[in-house]
Symmetry: C2
Subunit: 404 residues, 2 copies
């Protein structure tokens, strides 16, 4: 069987009109002789509506009931989609996770799919049926409803694609693919035809809001091709796939950036072994994610300056934690909220020397000062003043021939 | 165990505020050492919202998907109620019908509860837990969601009360009980403290919109006491119970009426054996409910006049069916839409002679002409001109000492 998993996000099923459009998309795959499994999110706005109700009820709403509550959203969208497919003459039905079943492990609201019982769905596909599966949810060993966390419908789609050995998984959303950078910042940004899992992971965690990093990681581990495309236009999207399927003609796949960073510098830190660990330990314990870190070389005074970045929203908490941390001694704490991180991402840089030089040189020519640097195998990130953000993204996009 | 089933209707759980109030009501029963089972409807307006979505999707929406769709409404309200009870320190959880399970038979959207698996709920009650059960729904032998039809949450509550041998079933709604007649028509209408199932059935089917007749019948067959009361005020409601629990001091329990009747008279029908059956057969086949019927005694001409009443909304369809009915011959068809049915209901009339006379006499004194009469063991109904409706209800309410 040539199976395709089609996943529809909230805006793609946000109204009766949008759901009718979903049925049209499904029909187009059936015409191409695909066996189609639909996975749907809740209608746009529905999950938030339910979450807000839970907040009105209790500031500490039970997580097991929360999961049962929000799971109702996908039950609604899936029955509507199946109803529309029936209306259009197709054999189709909704499948809720307890009906399949989809078994999960882990805590409520953050569960992971462990197994999917395939027999009933396979039989239905063989009869020519289109199963419409509620995304984002499962049941646990206590026969209770669980959810996979926000963006969990992507995770559902990918695990379903894995268990049913689908040819590919198509993520229908309201953007038409992955771009070389944010088109709102750089109008010359281009849609990327193919991008590797690893590049997408770097782009996603750096700010390209197309898919949750966890889901991309799941797809990578299971070698599942993902196409991200718009349900609003009939245009090819971007394929997220294995490195070997992609040309490395382009050294850099894209330029990503963040806007909500803050930089903290501890001046005159008593430099003793393990001091960095002592600084970061309370931050980790409070789920504050430290991103870029740079430490000056110790001077003869046995003092050093330590600079690191965090998300803006964690700033107040971080400041408090550092100030009450008795295990460290420092002279001054300097905070700068007017910074942004700009990154170039591409598997091509592994085999191409001089990428770092070209990046720094291009920024220098525009008088953009680099404050902090961090690198991975396929990514180079620099921290710049926020006022230089657009200029930096522009020049890098051009330098690495993404404007074409 | 002293079990009470508390059922909350849509307006009683219509907002976060209302749900907080539900938790207060539950707490008051727990304080009285009751084991409480909550049964809830969907939040007011939710079911209609979902039904409207299904209509936008298809004018012929699949009934199995319809049931899955609308069942989401109770999933939402029940998890919110359980979440609130948790917030208030009570052990509580939502139970969806597949989790119990509640098994139903019959067609989608009109299913009936066949059995309820009790063990898990009983264990939870023994631990001091408050199960919050989704009303209006069940699952069928194919493991799919079914619903019990509109007003089905009452049916759920009564069947749950039956299976768990509850002491009573309290129906919380937005009216504070059953009245001797509609207080909007007769300001002197009084709340009835106790009413028998049979009287309630006559009142309900005649227009008192407190509970669905099917649910009252279920309660009657299973001898379950039902209290109907308001969740908006802390006041005793009306108890629907066995005849033997009720004083027959009052001959008449209430005066009910309808506003949407139409009267049809066939003049000069050829009177042959089985002619009435020939007239009514096509109506029954088209689900048109014929209510009152009167046929004149045949004259020497072998002709008769046949008069019957139907609901106004069925009038056009009925007219068409009669006109194209080749099996009957008649001279003229007369339609009167300006009629109303007024009924007096009470088990006391069984043992009290002269009730009919008193009724007719009271109406005659007010110059109200009686067009058609129908009677049952505990009810006398008359058809009057609609303009006389209020006057008729008033005089009967007074005549049978319901004004007190």
């Amino acid at each position: 069987m040539k199976i395709v998993v089609l996943k529809f996000g909230g805006t793609s099923v946000g109204s009766a009109e949008r759901i009718k459009n979903v049925a049209k998309i499904v029909t187009s795959y059936l015409k191409k002789k695909f066996k189609v499994i639909v996975v749907s999110s809740a209608m746009g706005g529905e999950t938030n509506r339910l979450i807000n109700l839970s907040k009105e009820i209790s500031s500490n709403f039970t997580s097991s009931e929360y999961d049962t509550l929000v799971a109702a959203g996908e039950q609604i969208s899936c029955s509507l989609i199946a109803g529309r497919l029936n209306d259009q003459g197709h054999l189709s039905r909704s499948w809720l996770s307890w009906q399949i079943p989809i078994l999960t492990t882990g805590n409520y609201s953050y569960s992971r799919i462990e197994s999917i019982y395939k027999k009933n769905i396979i039989n239905f596909l063989k009869k020519g049926g289109v199963p419409v599966i509620a995304g984002f949810q499962g049941i646990n060993s206590e026969n209770r409803v669980t959810t996979l966390g926000r963006g969990g419908s992507d995770a559902s789609a990918i695990m379903i694609a894995k268990f049913f050995k689908a040819e590919k998984c198509v993520i229908y959303t309201d953007v038409d693919g992955v771009y070389t950078t944010d088109p709102n910042v750089v109008p010359k940004a281009k849609k990327i035809k193919k991008i590797s899992y690893e590049e997408m992971l770097e782009m996603a965690s750096l700010g390209a809001k197309v898919m949750q990093p966890n889901s991309i990681q799941d797809a990578r581990l299971n070698r599942i091709d993902i196409e991200v495309r718009s349900s609003f236009k009939n245009k090819a999207g971007s394929l997220i796939t294995k490195r070997k399927n992609i040309s490395t003609k382009n050294i850099i796949r894209g330029v990503s950036f963040t806007k909500n960073d803050a930089k903290i510098t501890l001046v005159g830190v008593k430099d003793r072994p393990g001091v960095a660990a002592k600084i970061f330990e309370p931050l980790f314990k409070n789920s504050i994610n430290v991103d870029m870190v740079v430490q000056n070389i110790s001077s003869y005074k046995k003092e050093t300056d330590l600079t690191f970045t965090i998300k803006n929203e964690d700033l107040l908490k971080t400041e408090k934690l550092i100030k009450k941390n008795k295990k460290i001694i420092f002279k001054k704490l300097i905070i700068d909220e007017r910074v942004s991180k700009v990154s170039i991402v591409g598997v091509g840089m592994i085999t191409t020397p001089g990428v770092t030089y070209r990046m720094f040189n291009a920024l220098a020519k525009k008088n953009i000062n680099i404050q902090v640097i961090s690198t991975s195998e396929i990514k180079i990130s620099v921290l710049v003043e926020r006022k230089n953000l657009k200029k930096a993204v522009d020049v890098l996009h051009k330098e690495f021939k993404l404007d074409y």
